[in-house]
């Protein structure tokens, strides 16, 4: 079973993100980038499927030169191959999904795994758009995946419950937290990943259809308000929560 995993190189969630001078992008200097945490679940699931059923795990990432670092992380976890779609600048997700679909066309796969979303722009669109571009079914935010002959059964979390979905293969699945417990890249894996070659394909340049106009920081929080003490303060608290905070 050959599995394709799409991964993204994103700022570490611990990093303090600053807006760059142009007001439309973030400062990448001095920010530590990592393999997108949801993609780690996707890689882990692919490795487990390969361990159970044989085949190969290929990683695919679109992004600048540095994206190779996340590909190396995935290789160090145990993926067999990595393909880097070299894109110098940012694309909107649909354009990117089409570019990845074109690249995926050159790689044999029985199923595709992605993270549910990238933690940088949080769009949660790529996996589904990729499926559409490839005319494949997709199941998003899965927490369990069972592969049978020519089909798969996935569980996904829905509002206060679980949904069990069966789909034919090939299909695209996006991984939700809880799908598995991703392994750490072992020292041996890291040393071996160093030897593996990352295949490069040029990204066909097309204009982004979406442009970021402006980035802004969230409003800094102002201090709390003490309404009063004891039971006597409750009616006023309820009124404020209802009328001012509008949460009730």
């Amino acid at each position: 079973m050959n599995i394709l995993v799409c991964v993204k190189h994103v700022p570490d969630t611990e990093a303090a993100v600053k807006i760059a001078a142009d007001g439309k992008s973030i400062q990448t200097q001095d920010v530590n980038f990592v393999l997108n945490p949801y993609d780690e679940y996707a890689v882990e699931e692919a490795l487990r499927l390969r361990e159970a059923r044989g085949g190969e795990v290929t990683l695919l990432s679109a992004g600048p030169e540095e994206a190779k670092k996340s590909l190396r992380t995935g290789l160090a976890m145990g993926a067999d191959k990595a393909v880097h779609l070299v894109c110098a600048h940012r694309h909107d997700t649909l354009t990117l999904a089409r570019a990845l679909a074109a690249a995926a066309g050159q790689i044999p796969f029985d199923l595709i795994l992605c993270g549910k979303q990238a933690v940088d722009d949080d769009e949660a669109q790529l996996g589904v758009m990729l499926a559409e571009a490839l005319s494949l079914p997709s199941v998003s935010a899965i927490v369990k995946l069972e592969v049978l002959d020519g089909k798969a059964v996935a569980r996904r979390e829905v509002e206060s419950g679980l949904e069990v979905v069966e789909t034919s293969l090939p299909a695209v699945f996006t991984a939700q937290k809880g799908l598995n417990d991703p392994r750490y890249p072992s020292l041996k894996g890291i040393m071996m990943a160093k030897q593996k070659k990352i295949e490069e394909i040029a990204c066909a340049q097309s204009d982004s259809q979406v442009e970021i106009l402006d980035l802004a920081y969230p409003k800094s929080r102002s201090g709390g308000k003490i309404v009063g003490q004891g039971a006597a303060a409750v009616p006023e608290l309820v009124r404020l929560l209802h009328e001012e905070a509008k949460v009730l």
């Binding site: 611990e14 670092k69 190396r72 992380t73 750490y184 072992s186 020292l187 041996k188 890291i190 040393m191």
Partner: protein, 386 residues
Amino acid sequence: MPIPDLYRLDELFTEEQRLIQRTVRDFVDEKILPGVRQWNRDAVFPVELIPEMAALGLLGATIQGWGCAGVDYVAYGLIAQELERGDSGFRSFVSVQNGLSMYPLLAFGSEEQKDRWLPPMARGEVVGCFALTEPDFGSDPGGLITQARRTAGGWVLNGVKRWSTNATIADLAVIWAKDEAGVIRGFLVEKGTPGMTAPEITGKLSLRVSVSSEVHLDDCHIPAENALPGAVGLKTALMCLNQARYSIAWGAVGAALACFEEAVEYAQTRIQFDRPIAGFQLVQAKLARMWTEITNARLLVLRLGQMMDQGKAHHAAVSMAKRYNVQTALETARTCRDLLGASGIVDDYHVFRHMANLESVYTYEGTHDIHTLILGQELTGLAAYA
């Protein structure tokens, strides 16, 4: 919040070294830090984590072959640093397995011994220990009195060892004893060999997440093939210590960083006299000093690691780093404990545990003062031990 990397030390490491560091850091965050307070209270080393450390490739990390990862010494240093950010007990476990058990096999063992023991040691199935120190011979190991006498089929060992890390849980002990001619030699004694027992030392107030033991050898017969052919002379034992001291020098940085990060955060949030204590000059003086000292310590071991990788590290250079870095870490831990006030004495915070651990680290593998004397001798040509 991680402290800023003012000297951009991160840029001095390769991509692989940083990835290895990150792997160990994540392991420590997820597997060690959540449990360490309880293990410390209970004075237990969680043996269930041994297979996990092995799966990561931490055991025998620098060895090429025998199923080991074969990383460079700088990467190994970062492993030690991250482990000791968790607790000195874990770094001690790895230092003993790698530097004091696998290294003597690699350096002084026969091909059969290496093939037999190194692979299961890398897999964590065989835990090693190293017994040089005796009740009456600590800083002066050359005086040791454990005896090795030749027999028809091998050797018989008699004596008492003390302070052997891991001995109670070990499957293979590297025992140092004197032959009839008074020459110190290294021997392998397998767990369960009649005549060897390894009771645990209890009541420790330091390095509680680590097993420390006595080793009693009472007419303990071992076959001839269990002598390490190359381990002849005190110098060979000291070569093993050099390996372990290297990892200790890096590990101390990790303990210091753990205390420092905790203290910086505490100082920024603890309000006294209507302002965070971090806003007082006396507190800032302490922070500035510690930050500088830790940076020094990190640069020292990085250079030492590069020399280790080039095979150019003088043993006195290792002594300098062990001495300076452990002293720095211990002083940092004490100052951080002070900055946390009363909170610093409870185990809700990590500082006190690190501070107590570092008391052992200051003493073992050559006390601080013994390393002072090694440096003194190197510099002046005059030995001042006796």
